[in-house]
Amino acid sequence: MKILYFSSVREAIGLAEEEVEVPGHVRTAGDLARWLSGRSEGHARAFADLAHVRAAFDMALCEMDTPLGTAREAAFFPPMTGG
C-alpha cells in the first residue's frame, strides 16, 4: 500500500511517501497509523497524538475508525489550513 505524508507529519517522518506491506490485523485508518508509528522514531512522533492527525483513503477524507477496505493509497496529515 502507498502511504503519503504531508506538512508537519511529513517533516516528523522525514519521508513524503513510502510503500508498505500492511499486516492483516490492521483494519482501520487508526490501526494503520498505530502500526506505522512502530517504523521509526519519526513515525512515533508524527502519530503520538492521533487527535491531531487527519487521514484520507484514496484521496477522500476519512475518520480514524474508517475501515481500510480496498483502499490502495492512504495519506496522513495535520488539520488542513487552506483559503
Binding site: 504531508f6 506538512s7 508537519s8 484520507a56 495535520p78 488539520p79 488542513m80 489550513t81 487552506g82 483559503g83
Partner: protein, 151 residues
C-alpha cells in the same frame, strides 16, 4: 472551474470571464485572499503552501458541486495557489454567479469556509524567528457547523 498551481492570476480578468459566463444571473460575489504582512506581531517573510495533488482538485470540485446544488449557482470559480508566496501575494480567488445576491453571498461564504479546513492545503509561515506550520483554529470548525446544520 477549479485551478490549483503556483501561477499568479489576474482577478479582474478572471471575474470578467465569470461575469460573461453567468447566464441569467443577477449577482456575482467574489473573495480574494492574500498573504498577510504580519503574524502575531512579527513580519511575515514568506508563506509556503503545500497541498495533496489530486485530492485537492477532487475536494474543490466536490465543494463547487455542492455549492452549485445548494445555492443554484449559474457559474463559479476557485483558484488557489501553492508554493512559496511573498507578503501581499494573492493566494485564493473564489467567485460565484447566482440569480440573486443573497444566494451569491451565502455561496461565497460556504466555499471559503470549506476551503479553510476541508481542502488538503497546509500553510507554513516564515518570520525572522523561524518557520512554523499555521495551526487550524477552532473558529474554522465552528464556521463549518453552521453549514452542516443547514444541510
Amino acid at each position: 472551474m477549479i485551478r490549483v498551481g503556483p501561477e499568479d492570476f489576474d482577478p479582474g480578468r478572471e471575474l470578467a470571464a465569470l461575469e460573461a459566463d453567468g447566464g441569467e444571473a443577477g449577482a456575482l460575489v467574489s473573495f480574494l485572499g492574500t498573504v498577510r504582512v504580519r503574524s502575531e506581531g512579527a513580519p511575515i517573510l514568506s508563506l509556503t503552501i503545500e497541498h495533496y495533488p489530486g485530492m485537492t482538485e477532487r475536494a474543490l470540485a466536490a465543494m463547487e458541486r455542492e455549492a452549485t446544488r445548494r445555492f443554484g449557482l449559474t457559474g463559479s470559480l476557485i483558484l488557489h495557489r501553492v508554493g512559496r508566496l511573498k507578503p501581499g501575494a494573492r493566494i485564493v480567488l473564489v467567485g460565484v454567479r447566482a440569480p440573486h445576491r443573497a444566494a451569491a453571498f451565502e455561496a461565497c461564504a460556504f466555499l471559503t469556509d470549506f476551503l479553510k479546513s476541508r481542502a488538503p492545503f497546509w500553510k507554513k509561515e516564515e518570520t525572522p524567528g523561524g518557520a512554523r506550520w499555521v495551526g487550524a483554529k477552532a473558529s474554522d470548525e465552528a464556521a463549518l457547523a453552521r453549514w452542516e446544520r443547514g444541510a
